[in-house]
């Protein structure tokens, strides 16, 4: 009985250790090496029987304000995007949860449908829509609403639009799962006891959907902080997000040790706000 349960758990854990933990160890190893003109482009951990470790890459991160700005930039974009997805996603999820059952699956399908196309292609499609001679500007010009093209891309607006667009389903699905579970009799009981519709929302529906809100926030915020495709393609050169800087260090500068140190630093720094947020949300729920 116990050995069977152990076997059931051991297999996925072995998988995680192999493909999640060991790359992490490798990244930590690279982050304490020096840059080198070699293949791979860093110094080995053991050389001539001696351990070779440096903190130079981490010190570089502290000394160059670019990294700090990129870190805060990522947190800021991710936080604003998370709030926006919550504000858009909540009414959407609530609406779907209150639709007759036969329509619900169709509406949920529509939320999941974008996943059937490659994420990259969808982001490129946004470039086609937003660029100076893109579809949106073209349409607005031709109906005469504007006379000069709007700057819709390479700015905060396009980055946030991209983030909200890409992560909205991750907010809607946990919210829907939570709201769908709520007993409609609770709303009726509140109304019966004299609560108006808005009061019912604040006193009953919202408090009871907090676990869904917490799940949605975590599912959107964490990947949004590390996002690099959206800031790279929809943000201009001035858009500072840590994921984009990391990508540049790795693939443009070929500085693997600095990139690895950045990745580890990001992991540690992300764990901090996430831990705080989890405690906060658990406190409310």
């Amino acid at each position: 009985m116990n050995t069977r349960r152990f076997g059931l758990i051991a297999l996925p854990y072995a998988w995680l250790v192999l493909f999640f933990l060991s790359p992490l160890v490798i990244v930590i190893k690279i982050s304490v090496a020096n840059e080198a003109v070699a293949i791979p482009p860093y110094t080995p951990l053991f050389e001539g029987g001696r351990l070779h470790v440096t903190d130079a890459n981490y010190l570089l991160l502290l000394s160059d304000s670019l990294y700090w700005k990129a870190y805060w930039g990522a947190i800021r974009y991710a936080a604003i995007a998370t709030i926006l997805t919550l504000l858009i996603g909540y009414p959407l999820a609530y609406g779907i949860a209150r639709t007759p059952v036969r329509w619900r699956n169709l509406l949920l399908m529509a939320i999941i449908l974008p996943f059937w196309t490659s994420f990259l292609i969808r982001v490129y499609a946004w470039i086609g829509l937003l660029k100076e001679n893109g579809i949106v500007n073209h349409a607005l010009l031709s109906v005469g609403l504007i006379d000069t093209p709007l700057r819709l891309i390479d700015n905060d607006f396009s980055v946030l639009l991209g983030l909200v667009y890409a992560y909205l389903p991750f907010m809607v699905l946990p919210l829907y799962a939570q709201l769908e579970k709520l007993d409609p009799a609770l709303n009726e009981a509140a109304a019966d006891l004299g609560a108006r519709p808005l009061h019912i929302f604040w006193q009953v529906t919202l408090p009871l959907s907090l676990p869904g809100i917490a799940a949605g926030i975590l599912l959107v915020f964490i990947p949004a902080v590390g996002e690099f495709v959206i800031p790279d393609l929809l943000g201009g050169p001035k858009t500072l997000m840590i994921g984009k800087i990391l990508w540049d260090e790795f693939f443009t500068n070929h500085d693997w040790p600095t990139a690895s140190a950045l990745a580890i630093a990001m992991l540690v720094l992300l764990a901090l706000p996430m831990g705080l947020m989890r405690r906060l949300l658990r406190g409310i729920a």
């Binding site: 009726e188 009981a189 109304a191 019966d192 006891l193 006193q203 408090p207």
Partner: protein
């Protein structure tokens, strides 16, 4: 409360869930709506609470027409079948919910909550969440919450169904007791005829959206208006037959079980009727005893022992199975075992005549 010609259809062409119902409930009455599931009694309750809108008809409470009045403005509170307690609030906050909506001062709310929790004997558990309570405790909280605003009318949707049998019987007395103490009109919906009869001062039997009969439990039980009411409210034995004539002030019916005499006003000979007799009104006699009228010989088939009495199935000579109640109490009445031959008898005024 006054209901006049109320009708509600959920689908345009479907059978109405509530069909032309008229009902008047007096102040401080304990009224029960009794019927099988799907008979429209819960829909009627939801119409009164304001969760559903009637197609036609009027609901008036204390003379005020409730048409267009939203649930949160009606002087009515409901205790839901599954209680619908707010899981994120403790017992005291659940009970105080309605009072807080009126923005009453905190001290007044707290004092009232304490008084209500005393009433339902839940004061010790005021800080618990609904998830930490047993079914019976939740029921008490739901009752206190529904009473908090002193509604003109308290609606109870199957109030005892979710409880186990022993608790249910205790709660019957307690609900009655609380009803007397608070002086609020109670309207209870139930499918349990025992519950309705033991608690209500008046009841109405519903079937297929209509009210079949209305009156005190004793009146409806003793004088059922039709076959449905007779069969739904308690057990009944029916003998189908035709009126044969009158004899010595009694109506004579030729039935499948033989010639029966019933105390009833004269009817035209040949009228199709059913003689209805409750199991507890059948007397058990040894087979030899044939001195009384309305004697039905038969054989005991099965006996279900219930403690204070036994319910027996007796096969008559005609093959019909009838139900009788055999007392186990005094030790004087004859006791029969399965397979024993016996005679059942009843007095002419114990039986009722049903025409519809």
């Amino acid at each position: 409360m006054q209901i006049e010609r109320l009708t509600k259809r959920f689908e345009p062409d479907a059978q109405p869930a509530v069909n032309n119902v008229s009902l008047a409930i007096d102040r401080q009455e304990f009224f029960a709506l009794l019927g099988p599931s799907g008979c429209g009694k819960t829909t009627l309750l939801r119409l009164i609470a304001g969760f559903e809108t009637a197609d036609t008809g009027v609901i008036a409470i204390d003379g005020a027409d409730m048409a267009g009045v939203p649930p949160y403005r009606r002087p009515v509170n409901i205790m839901f079948q599954n209680y619908a307690l707010f899981p994120h609030m403790n017992v005291a906050r659940n009970v105080g919910f309605g009072l807080r909506q009126e923005r009453k001062p905190r001290g007044a709310v707290d004092a009232r909550v304490v008084a209500l929790l005393e009433l339902v004997k839940m004061r010790a558990l005021a800080a618990r969440r609904p998830g930490q309570l047993s079914g019976g405790e939740r029921q008490r909280v739901a009752l206190a919450r529904a009473l908090a605003k002193e509604p003109k009318l308290l609606l109870l949707d199957e109030p005892l169904t979710a409880l186990d049998r022993k608790l249910r019987e205790e709660m019957r007395f307690e609900l009655k007791h609380i009803h007397q103490r608070v002086g609020i009109t109670f309207l209870m919906v139930t499918h349990d005829q025992e519950e309705a009869m033991s608690m209500a001062s008046r009841l109405a039997v519903m079937n297929e959206g209509r009210i079949e009969q209305e009156g005190s439990p004793e009146h409806v039980y003793e004088n059922p208006a039709n076959r449905f009411v007779a069969g739904f409210l308690g057990a009944v034995n029916l003998f189908e037959g035709k009126v044969a004539g009158a004899e010595a002030g009694l109506l004579i019916v030729d039935s499948e079980a033989g010639r029966l005499a019933v105390a009833h006003s004269p009817l035209a000979a040949g009228t199709a009727v059913a003689v209805a007799i409750r199991p507890e009104k059948l007397r058990f006699m040894t087979a030899r005893d044939t001195t009384t009228p309305n004697v039905l010989p038969g054989i005991v088939r099965t006996i279900a022992y219930r403690g204070e009495a036994s319910t027996c199935q007796i096969e008559l000579a005609s093959g019909q199975l009838v139900r009788g109640t055999m007392s186990n109490g005094d030790g004087k009445a004859p006791v029969f075992l399965p397979g024993a031959a016996l005679s059942l008898s009843f007095t002419p005024d114990a039986a009722r005549l049903l025409q519809s």
